[in-house]
């Protein structure tokens, strides 16, 4: 994305644009000042103001604030005044319309609780065992340890073993005795949304007083292997038909599951890791609006998005 979310203003300075910037500042402050004010878990939410519990589905998006963007024309997804084309620029890109048209649909908060009770859910939030999605109800599990059994991914008691010999999302790894940590990343699709395309682990660490970051592809869909030269999954070729939002058939996975050991780990570097799993591309709400209206999608907006899920981080400290 070349412009700020909510604005058409071009991004020239990327600092502060991602949640991992805050996590990086946190571990850096822990190293230099002895405290970390940014040790938080992730949830996704709505921030809608329309008396409805979230407008999470892109195909069924119905506004953020009601009166101001309750109609497709008001949120910039169809041309104004019943026109059939986008030949006349309709809005000041920095004005209200500019902001409403660039917002995503709402997120969802996920919690790993033992049971559906207030106590269990609040305890899970306190230990940060939560995850965020950009809207769909996909699930992600994320664990870390130094020695998981080789066959853990195939064991039917996977989760039990993962908890017993490691820490879940939101937790802290014990200091390393020389070994690099291993991560279990396990995600499952939302049956009412798309298939999963790739799984990634985002790492932030402190090196010589500077906070750094890297994104690793750790699992690819469709039998694909990570390209050793780029470290990336090859494109799985999933596309969306923009005339009806139908996805390419038979692309992507229902489930992604992998065991990954950090190849760049240094025992003396403070770090955090979180999982990010991407769906195949799907239509953005503005494209759904346009199709229903029989007009082309707004050329200033992205026609598709990749829905995703983020786990809460796991932190590594060189000493307790």
């Amino acid at each position: 994305m070349e412009s700020y979310i909510g604005r058409a203003k071009a991004i020239t300075k990327f600092s502060g644009g991602y949640v991992r910037d805050a996590l990086k500042s946190g571990i850096l402050m822990q190293d230099t000042k002895g405290f970390n004010p940014f040790k938080f878990g992730f949830i996704g939410s709505s921030d809608t103001h329309n008396a409805a519990p979230g407008s999470v589905e892109d195909r069924n998006y119905f506004s953020k604030v009601g009166r101001t963007d309750g109609k497709p024309e008001q949120r910039g997804s169809i041309p104004a005044e019943g026109r059939k084309a986008w030949d006349i620029p309709t809005a000041d890109p920095n004005g209200n319309l500019g902001r409403f048209q660039s917002w995503g649909a709402s997120g969802i908060a996920g919690v790993w609780a033992e049971e559906n009770s207030r106590d269990a859910i609040y305890s899970a939030m306190r230990r940060k065992e939560t995850f965020a999605t950009s809207g769909p109800r996909m699930r992600v599990r994320f664990f870390a340890a130094y020695d998981y059994p080789q066959n853990i991914l195939k064991r039917s008691d996977l989760a039990t073993v993962a908890y017993r010999s490691g820490v879940p999302m939101g937790g802290d790894l014990m200091p390393s005795k020389g070994k690099a940590p291993q991560f279990i990343l396990w995600a499952m699709r939302d049956p009412n949304s798309g298939y999963l395309q790739r799984a990634q682990i985002v790492k932030g660490w402190v090196e010589n007083g500077v906070a750094k970051e890297a994104v690793f592809d750790v699992a690819c869909s469709d039998h694909l292997a990570i390209d050793p030269a780029t470290g990336r999954c090859p494109d799985n070729g999933a596309k969306v038909d923009l005339s009806n939002c139908e996805p390419t058939k038979f692309k992507g996975d229902a489930e992604m599951k992998t065991l990954w050991r950090d190849p760049t780990f240094k025992p003396n570097q403070r770090a955090f890791y979180y999982a990010r799993v991407l769906e195949n591309p799907s239509c953005r709400w503005s494209t759904w609006d346009a199709i229903r209206n029989g007009t082309p999608p707004n050329p200033k907006l992205l026609p598709t998005i990749q829905e995703r899920v983020w786990s809460s981080p796991i932190w590594y400290a060189p000493s307790l």
Binding site: W186, M188, P191, H223, D253, A254, E255
Partner: protein
């Protein structure tokens, strides 16, 4: 005396005469009183009074929020703020700042709405009325089918046929192993107790959910396709969809009935209120105004 009188100028004579007139006395005394009252009034300032009850309430709000009683200093702060608020509000009213203000208007309308709702006591419907209402809205209270089951999962991301073959193979072995651990690890629970079929449908899809209703009880069946792959399922018990009797959901039905009655009353109240006013809106054609309002 007559000599002295004749020496006086005519103006003075008039004044002297006027001085003897009771009407003039009356006017003079009246004027003095008027001026006196005005001066007294200007010296007397309007009173801002916070009584003990209100003070108790303010301290109570504070305690609720802070989870402890305010100290004397904090109490002084509370009083200070309340007085500031009062004098600012009175001054604003004196200057007419409440006029043409959207927020003040909304707040007043809201208070009026609350007030009109409070005064209208909702009726306790008699049995026949409540029963008729329940019959009409029965569908709202229907409980979904519930099912207790276990399942085993076979991932089909790396080939549907292979997954299906693995599932069939497992089904053959399942009787001898009691079905333990023949399937693959699964992110969602492998067992559900008394789960709503609506929830299962959301997580597994329609095919899987309807299979749970169809398959024989207490034995492993399948393979059944879901949004994730193939499953073997064993249903231990199930309860079909159930419409409760009025007695089972009486409080909910009563609440729904009263809510409906409240809405009807509010609508009537507003309609009656509108009749008391002649509503004029400029700049909009009458045809638009006459359209029924949509909500």
């Amino acid at each position: 005396m007559t000599e002295s009188l004749s020496k006086q100028s005519p103006v003075r004579a008039i004044i002297v005469r006027a001085g003897r007139e009771p009407l003039v006395h009356f006017l003079l005394i009246g004027a003095l009183l008027f001026v006196g009252v005005q001066v007294a009034r200007s010296l007397q300032r309007p009173v801002v009074r916070i009584d003990a009850q209100e003070l108790g309430q303010l301290a109570g709000y504070w305690s609720t929020q802070m989870q402890r009683d305010p100290t004397n200093e904090e109490l002084q702060g509370i009083i200070h703020e309340r007085v500031d608020e009062e004098v600012l509000a009175r001054e604003a009213l004196r200057l007419g700042l409440d006029k043409d203000d959207m927020i003040v208007r909304r707040r007043l309308a809201q208070k009026m709405t609350f007030a009109s709702e409070d005064t209208a006591n909702l009726p306790e419907p008699d049995e026949a009325v409540l029963k008729a209402f329940f019959e009409k809205t029965k569908a709202d209270y229907q409980a979904p089918p519930r099912v207790t089951f276990r399942h085993q999962f076979f991932n089909s991301d790396r080939g549907k046929d292979q997954a299906l073959a693995r599932a069939k193979l497992a089904l053959g072995k399942v009787a001898s192993t009691q079905g333990d651990a023949l399937g693959e690890p699964f992110l969602l629970p492998l067992g559900y107790s008394d789960a709503s079929l609506i929830d299962i449908n959301k997580d597994y899809g329609q095919d899987f959910a309807s299979a749970l209703i169809r398959v024989p009880l207490n034995q492993w069946s399948g393979p059944i396709a879901s949004a994730y792959g193939y499953h073997l399922i064993k249903v231990d018990s199930r309860m079909s969809a159930k419409t409760p009797t009025l007695d089972e959901v009486r409080p909910d039905v009563l609440a729904a009935y009263q809510e409906q009655a409240r809405k009807a009353r509010n609508a009537t109240f507003l309609a009656d209120l509108r009749k008391k006013y002649r509503i004029e809106i400029s700049g909009i054609p009458q045809t638009v105004l006459n359209q029924p309002e949509t909500n």
